[in-house]
Subunit: 478 residues, 2 copies
């Protein structure tokens, strides 16, 4: 196991330097790499396979709720971006501008889309005329660009991949229902598929999306106690529709502006998978998202019959799980270590002794538990263990989240918790921006959300002592 | 059928004005729309569903041959683009330049990728070190941008969607095999899945990709006899690898540059589907690519039991085909016409009389043939008819292609054919650029390809009379 150890030693421990641990995993599990382009990452095959799985499952859920995919231009004319005041103020400072086509200077600058509300509205104005044309439930999978100063792979990059849903509805109520429906789809996807528990709630005015009336969010807690905003869903009222002249004739024969939503989830979520489940040996992937669920590793593969048997097993188990075989000339120890680094949920070891006894060894990535399993029972045992890993990763993450949410009644409590206890803090808030700013300045905390279905834990604002309006979850955030 | 007629009248006949017919279909079948961004189109749900089907099937074929998907930055620094001389000369005049990020002027201009050879090579230099790292078989699905002057939806747009494969190999032979393998995948995909026959061959030096040693192409013939280059596969030798410093230590312990290929197929292929199969009633889709294969249309749907029965049939047939139901309040005639416009391969009509007799009516989009089918036989009959439509569209397209390839021995014959007979012209060529240019100037023809496995049809160049080197297929092209 000497070389196994060597590979492991190259990763920083996550409790020594979490940021460095994160970067090490991204590099060594070959998820992403830096590029020559400032702030832009290369998503490598293993990282992209994760995104493909995320995409397939979310897309299935979107289509099951009646959404259709489209593709809109990646460039947006400056004049379109400027049509909604709050929106342009929020995004103009961080867009990349195209000013020349070939050798010609353009008459109007075009920005690389940071998000596509404007261009969707511009299209909706052409295709929505009657209540019969509503709702429009469009989504697109694409890349967007925000000219960020400091960047980290997946978490914050100038360019990232995402999906953005943009819908139009005849009534405000229907649009609000859609906003909540999509947040719920994100949350159940995250919990069931990624084994990441989330807290759902509403953003404060300060934290909401530029141009939105309401922003809903799901917030996940990373291993270091910090929050990651993992998916957001926005309600716009009919503000954008008015600004862009989107109108329809309703059943009562009057002209109205439709109500709009948008919602997005990005490659950022891969950062959450890493930071919620990973450990000091590398990535740990929930089986439902893992590109490879079982890696078959032959032991003493040069001995007669071993490679053949290993291939035979691969063929058999491929009927019920995503399996691969490692027939390279590396040592088994090295292969084990690579499997761990890549977070493959189960490894299957098969050597001459096992073959003689018609069994093999299964080793779980999460607990390292070993199972000696007769070959005839693999079809039953592998799906069982994979399901147990999925369940157990979720339970652990849930325990890790809920055991680190603390209540605070005074600013001193807030500051003590912020200094000593990584995690989220629940505290009452009066609703004033001033107090929200003070939480940032004095305790380094931002409001993550005003969670749904929660009882107040006091009457007064933890910051100013005035009457409290909202229970807020505060935290340090990525 | 009055309203049916009305909708049909709005399309130009394809034999009156093919270009206008094409534009009408794109609009009326709701495949794409124009946007506020010069030269960029909006791909609407129905058009995007076609692209999703193309993507899924091609991606399956790429993965089955060992390729992996990645994602590279969409912006390329000017200095990277300039590393390979021929490449930059070919692309620099038609790229969009990003010069500002937010309010800051960038130190170096970045172009929106027109293609990604340069950025792949820049990455390959970091991850290829040993023969063990080869081959690298990467592909990406993305959008690219080429600042075209005149644009038409799908056929030529500033931005378009495509996939671009970029592979690196230890030997020239292996890279050449890959180039041919990928061309063959494109061609069999086109013929089996899109029912579009193609001619495979090599491009002349004038027509090859900027920076490539060899470009292979598949050329399809549209209804008007013009050619559409529908997929290309390039062999680069090790020129790019040298320019970018990509090196590996081979088994013999010497340092070598690997050999490269790239290959791409784009949303342009949707233009081919329209122009090969469509007719004066609209789009005609091969069943394998059709988002909806069967549309269920209830007749006298207000009568008791009709809607229920139609829904029941939809449920049953959905087990073996992609089916939808039209329960809108439009007239049946209008619905038939919409089905035709959208090229849905089969429509299924069910009314009170049919229900009484336990049967329904199936109508083929391609031949308009009607079948009266007992409901109990739908499971057998629908797949049979769909397969027959697929086969028959392919056979018709093949007949249309091969009956319009003409041989020419003299320049006069070439000119007469070019003027009178829409289609391809086979003629011998000496290999000189001058004669290739003359074919363009005097007959309006470009070299489409030097087809594989073809016997020469003469000894002398049709243009200059000197010794001929190659049989070339000439044509007018999109």
């Amino acid at each position: 196991m000497a070389d196994n150890k060597k590979m492991v030693e190259e990763i920083t421990s996550r409790d020594v330097d979490f940021a460095q641990w994160y970067t090490d995993i991204v590099k060594k599990a070959e998820l992403a790499d830096y590029s020559s382009v400032r702030g832009c990452m290369i998503i490598r095959p293993y990282g992209y396979a994760l995104w493909e799985n995320i995409k397939a499952e979310l897309d299935r859920r979107f289509k099951a709720t009646g959404h259709e995919n489209v593709y809109m231009p990646m460039l947006i004319p400056e004049s379109l971006l400027q049509k909604e005041k709050d929106h342009v103020e929020g995004f103009a400072p961080e867009v990349a501008w195209v000013t020349h086509g070939g050798t010609e200077k353009l008459a109007e600058r075009l920005c690389v889309r940071p998000t596509s509300e404007t261009i969707f509205c511009d299209h909706y104005k052409d295709i929505i005329h009657s209540y019969r044309d509503l709702p429009k439930l469009y989504n697109q999978w694409c890349s967007v660009m925000r000219w960020e100063k400091t960047t980290r792979p997946f978490l914050r990059t100038a360019e990232f991949l995402w999906q953005e849903g943009h819908t139009m509805h005849a009534t405000a109520e229907e649009a609000l229902d859609e906003t909540i429906q999509m947040l719920n789809i994100y949350a159940s996807f995250s919990e069931e598929f990624l084994a990441i528990p989330v807290i759902k709630g509403r953003k404060t005015d300060k934290e909401k999306f530029a141009g939105a009336e309401v922003t809903y969010t799901m917030e996940a807690m990373m291993h270091d106690g910090k929050a990651l905003q993992s998916g957001t869903s926005h309600y716009f009222g009919n503000g954008f529709a008015k600004a862009f002249g989107v109108e329809f004739t309703d059943k009562d024969n009057t002209l109205k502006n439709p109500y709009e939503t948008s919602w997005g989830l990005s490659t950022r979520i891969i950062g959450a998978i890493i930071m919620v489940h990973g450990d000091d040996n590398g990535l740990v992937l929930p089986p439902m998202i893992a590109p490879t669920q079982v890696m078959v590793i032959p032991i003493q593969q040069h001995k007669e019959g071993v490679e053949d048997k290993a291939r035979e097993i691969l063929g058999n188990i491929s009927a019920f799980c995503r399996a691969k075989i490692d027939l390279s000339d590396k040592t088994p120890g090295w292969k084990f270590s690579e499997c761990e680094m890549k977070g493959i949920p189960l490894r299957l070891e098969i050597g001459p002794k096992d073959i003689a006894e018609n069994k093999c060894v299964l080793v779980r990535r999460d607990t390292r538990e070993k199972y000696f399993v007769p070959l005839s029972e693999l079809e039953k045992k592998i799906p069982e263990i994979l399901a147990d890993i999925q369940r157990s990763l979720y339970e652990n993450a849930k325990e890790s989240l809920y055991s680190r949410i603390y209540d605070a009644q005074t600013m001193d409590e807030v500051k003590d918790l912020a200094a000593d206890k990584p995690g989220f803090i629940r505290a009452m808030w009066c609703g004033d921006l001033e107090c929200e700013m003070k939480m940032k300045e004095e305790a380094g905390l931002t409001s993550r959300c005003m969670p749904f279905d929660t009882e107040p834990i006091g009457d007064t604002c933890v910051c100013c002592g005035k009457k409290a309006k909202e229970l807020v979850i505060w935290g340090k955030a990525y």
